[in-house]
């Protein structure tokens, strides 16, 4: 049979199939996402703690002063809150993205 039947390949592939194949396969491989998420969770926890301490510290400071409630004080409050939130290493968007990705 080997002398009468063909061994050459009658099957064809689309043009460029093998050229792009490696990239497609590498892109389809499952990747572990654990480590970055763990880091994010720790940052989120640290940010909440830092924010809580900053806000707590601000309010205890307010109680010890006699500063009048003027517009300028409210402005300062707002600036202080911004600053306290800036201490957060992670913003709310990132926390939301992490929480929804782990549903």
């Amino acid at each position: 049979m080997k002398t009468t039947l063909p061994k050459d390949n009658p099957f064809r592939v689309p043009d460029g199939y093998f050229d792009s194949l490696t990239d497609r396969i590498m892109a389809s491989l499952p990747r572990e996402e654990k480590k970055p998420a763990r880091r994010l969770w720790r940052w989120a926890a640290a940010a909440c703690l830092a924010g809580a301490i900053a806000i707590g510290g601000y309010y205890s400071l307010r109680q010890t002063t006699d500063a009048p409630q003027t517009a300028s004080v409210e402005q300062t409050e707002s600036d202080y809150m911004d600053e306290a939130l800036d201490y957060a290493l992670v913003d709310n968007q990132e926390i939301a993205a992490y929480l929804t990705s782990n549903e």
Binding site: N9, T22, I25
Partner: protein
């Protein structure tokens, strides 16, 4: 083009295995693995499943299985044997799944397949091969087109050399009978 591909003599499989086992170099090493074996594995699979689209699916599944199973590869078998084994299993699973969901015979449509470019004899040969039971088809393809030695086939498929020889000769008789019937 034949089904036999030669590994470039420069490639050191020991080094590649080492790099694959090391998680720091795994990604780059796996890319090398894909580049080296993708064509050989594709043709092995294609001969089994016949359709290009199916072969593409099974090939991707093969590499995904290899990637997720890298820690189980102990390095005593050759990489090619290990990959061939995964590809063979994935192709067989694919055929089994197809059989459950459709009655379409693989032989139907080969003549109309845009990615089949053979003459009448090749068409009949591949139609005949498609009538073989899946495992027998694998054995026939590996022996006839890849000219794989029985010992390596035994390692790849996990079947004894004696059983493989019997399977191959059975396949040859069936294909011969197929041709005699259409003459």
């Amino acid at each position: 083009m034949t089904g036999l591909f030669i590994i470039p003599p420069r490639m050191d499989e020991t080094l590649l295995i080492h790099n694959i086992k090391d998680t720091r170099t795994r990604e780059a090493a796996f890319r090398t693995l894909v580049d080296t074996y993708k064509e050989r594995l594709y043709w092995q699979i294609r001969r089994m499943v016949v359709s290009h689209d199916d072969a593409d699916d099974v090939l991707q599944q093969t590499f995904i299985k290899a990637w997720t199973g890298l820690d189980t590869f102990r390095g005593e078998a050759r990489l090619s044997t290990w990959l061939y084994r995964i590809a063979s299993n994935e192709a067989l699973n694919h055929q089994a799944r197809r059989k459950e969901t459709t009655d379409i015979d693989d032989a139907v449509g080969l003549a109309d397949d845009p990615y089949f470019d053979g003459d009448e004899t090749q068409l009949q040969l591949h139609n005949a091969i498609a009538t073989l039971p899946p495992k027998q088809r694998t054995v026939f393809n590996l022996k006839y087109f890849d000219e794989m030695k029985y010992e390596e086939m035994s390692e790849t498929l996990g079947t004894s050399v004696g059983a493989l020889k019997a399977s191959y000769h059975h396949a040859v008789r069936k294909i011969t009978a197929f041709f005699e019937a259409i003459d």
